[in-house]
């Protein structure tokens, strides 16, 4: 129940950052809509946890401001931000019972005991630890402990935002699915703003309205799952989203054609490119069709993965992947054609639009 604005946030862990490389967060300027469900996706070490800790106030950013509903909270302590956060590794209070663990965040805020009881009972059922309420948390298994951590994040119904930092990593797949839908349900019911860190792209894509992709201390793209798939704005997003990732081939751009190796590909638009930029052509394996016509390729390997086949091939002396239907045939002299609509052009790794 808060709109969160990150205003030109930069953060370095060291005291005196000298170069750009010293920053764990390079520059994040972004608005999280009130009640939005965001997935934060990115490789390990790209700054996801740092970003969450800045939002919750566990870390003070080196530069920039954070606004909650327009109010500057940059220097407000975590306790006063009304934010819940679930950490990647379980944190439980060993000596307390499961029940008391879940009640802890409420009791610290002097919630009336009847309300505490109601909330805790609901959450304890939700995380499937109903029978364990009176047990001390010490003897529980890692995934039970993580459920308690998760429960403590969800137990407060009035939070502005809940930040989840890869909360389901240690949980088994079936329970993962159950908990994920429970979190979604709670999100619908209470309307908190939700940021969900994961490096599992299926989790991100099925979970969130908007997916935020981070790479090397920056947000490289924010979009719906479809946008990330069709128009990756950075070659990293292309690689990272999709399986296999987007094919990115070095290309020389000349007007509305791209030259890849010896082949020239018509683009249907004139990309706007600054002089001296390294240019690449991106095409997803799903949008390449294999047949008897088009540009020649040499097939190196065919992987059958259920509903479709992944064909690994060399094109213009570069490895590419092609997705073919399960019953699609592979010709003896294979050629490929690219779906023109699906081609993206990148200059210095960033996607470029049409020349005006």
């Amino acid at each position: 129940m808060a709109r969160i604005n990150l205003e030109h946030i930069r953060h370095a862990y060291g005291a005196k950052p000298k170069s750009e490389a010293d920053y764990a967060l390079k520059e994040v300027h972004h608005e999280w809509n009130d009640g939005g469900a965001y997935a934060l996706l990115g490789p390990s070490g790209c700054g996801k946890t740092t970003l969450l800790n800045i939002i919750s106030g566990l870390i003070n950013p080196s530069e920039g401001q954070i606004l909650f509903d327009g109010t500057d909270v940059t220097h407000l302590a975590t306790q006063h931000r009304n934010i819940a956060q679930v950490f990647q590794f379980p944190v439980i209070y060993d000596t307390m019972t499961v029940y008391d663990n879940l009640a802890f965040p409420l009791r610290n805020r002097h919630v009336p005991e009847a309300e505490v009881d109601r909330r805790v009972k609901e959450i304890i059922e939700m995380i499937g630890l109903g029978g364990w309420a009176k047990k001390t948390a010490r003897g529980l298994t890692a995934d039970q402990k993580q459920k308690i951590s998760l429960g403590r994040g969800l137990v407060r119904s009035d939070v502005s935002a809940i930040l989840f930092d890869e909360p389901l990593t240690v949980i088994d797949p079936e329970m993962k699915w159950v908990l994920r839908s429970q979190i979604k349900r709670l999100h619908k019911r209470f309307g908190f703003t939700m940021v969900y860190v994961t490096h599992d792209q299926t989790e991100a894509l099925t979970f969130a309205d908007k997916v935020v992709v981070m790479y090397d201390g920056q947000i490289v793209q924010i979009g719906t799952p479809a946008e990330l798939f069709e128009r990756p704005s950075h070659t990293f997003v292309g690689y990272f989203i999709g399986s296999p990732g987007m094919n990115v081939l070095p290309a020389k751009i000349d007007g509305a054609t791209a030259a890849v190796g010896g082949e020239s590909i018509a683009l249907g638009f004139r990309p706007k490119i600054k002089a001296g930029a390294t240019t690449e052509l991106g095409i997803r394996p799903e949008f390449i069709s294999l047949g008897r016509e088009g540009m020649p390729v040499a097939i190196t390997k065919v992987e059958d993965i259920g509903r479709h086949k992944v064909v690994r091939a060399r094109f213009a002396d570069r490895p590419i992947s092609i997705i073919v239907d399960e019953d699609g045939e592979i010709p003896a002299e294979p050629h490929v054609t690219f779906d023109r609509q699906a081609i993206n052009i990148y200059a210095d790794s960033w996607r470029v639009g049409e020349e005006a």
């Binding site: 950490f87 944190v91 610290n108």
Partner: protein
């Protein structure tokens, strides 16, 4: 699972067994031997049964000294454990302050007992000691040679100065093993400073505290060198602890029988109390 027996292993532990036998078991047995016999010199011994034990247990001297010991240990524990925890909580967790604090803390532990005794003996003297003179100049009537309370205060302050570091270092080791995520979660959960101590830090320190508690109990209960050097057991008998009494008896009066009986009783008391503390503290630990 099959167990493989390797008899060669026994040879490996043999040196330790011999060492323990010579350093602990044999002396202890000698003491047991003395405690049930009487002698009038000339290496002639007579069977005395439990007479010496009865004598010791019926003497006021024993009960007075035991009471002093118990009070002393109780005071020492009541001061050093909480003080040690408080200091450990306030030590820096990272940066240049860490090694500095650790060295400062370790310093008193490196000083031998009798030197500590001597330092304080001189430090507290009313005629030449820095502390004694300063207190006198401030108009405080302090004289550990004449006033039993002053003697006790001196011994306690000395022990606290000497041994609180041990508690600090043990607690500190427990504290630095707590991952940052715990403190972060506590902030998110809105925990107060006290709750953080009660539910995160104290549980993590519990094990080391148990060790600190037992070590400080056993050590303070066996205190000998410091009172021997500083007060010699006085004024009067006010700082005559069991150990001092024992030495007086054995070496001063050469009453080997009663002294041996006292040793064994002393040993059993320490064993018993340590066992009680250990059991009580570990069972409460298991219950959480």
């Amino acid at each position: 699972m099959e167990k493989t027996w390797n008899n060669n292993a026994w040879f490996m532990v043999l040196p330790v067994l011999v060492l323990v036998a010579f350093s602990a078991v044999i002396p202890l047995m000698t003491v047991v031997n003395y405690s049930v016999q009487d002698t009038f010199g000339n290496n002639e011994f007579f069977w005395a049964g439990t007479d010496w034990f009865q004598d010791v247990l019926e003497s006021d001297r024993f009960w007075d000294a035991l009471t002093r010991n118990l009070i002393f240990s109780a005071i020492i524990l009541a001061i050093e454990i909480p003080l040690g925890i408080v200091i450990a909580l306030n030590m820096p967790k990272k940066g240049i302050g860490v090694p500095i604090c650790l060295v400062l803390m370790a310093l008193p532990l490196l000083i031998p007992w009798n030197v500590v005794g001597t330092i304080w003996q001189v430090f507290g003297r009313v005629d030449i000691g820095l502390l004694g003179r300063t207190l006198a100049a401030l108009g405080i009537n302090y004289n550990y040679v004449q006033n039993p309370i002053d003697a006790w205060v001196t011994l306690i302050v000395m022990d606290v100065w000497h041994w609180t570091s041990l508690v600090v270092l043990l607690c500190y080791a427990g504290l630095v093993s707590i991952p940052d995520a715990y403190y972060q979660a506590a902030k998110i959960d809105g925990a107060s400073r006290w709750s953080v101590f009660r539910y995160i830090q104290l549980p993590k320190m519990k094990r080391v505290l148990l060790i600190a508690f037992l070590l400080r109990f056993m050590d303070s209960f066996m205190i000998y060198t410091e009172p021997f050097v500083v007060t010699g057991g006085g004024p009067g008998n006010s700082t005559t602890f069991l150990s001092i009494d024992l030495v007086k008896m054995a070496i001063g009066q050469f009453d080997l029988g009663p002294a041996a009986a006292l040793s064994i009783i002393y040993f059993l008391i320490i064993l018993l109390l340590s066992w009680i503390f250990y059991t009580v503290m570990t069972t409460s630990d298991a219950k959480g």
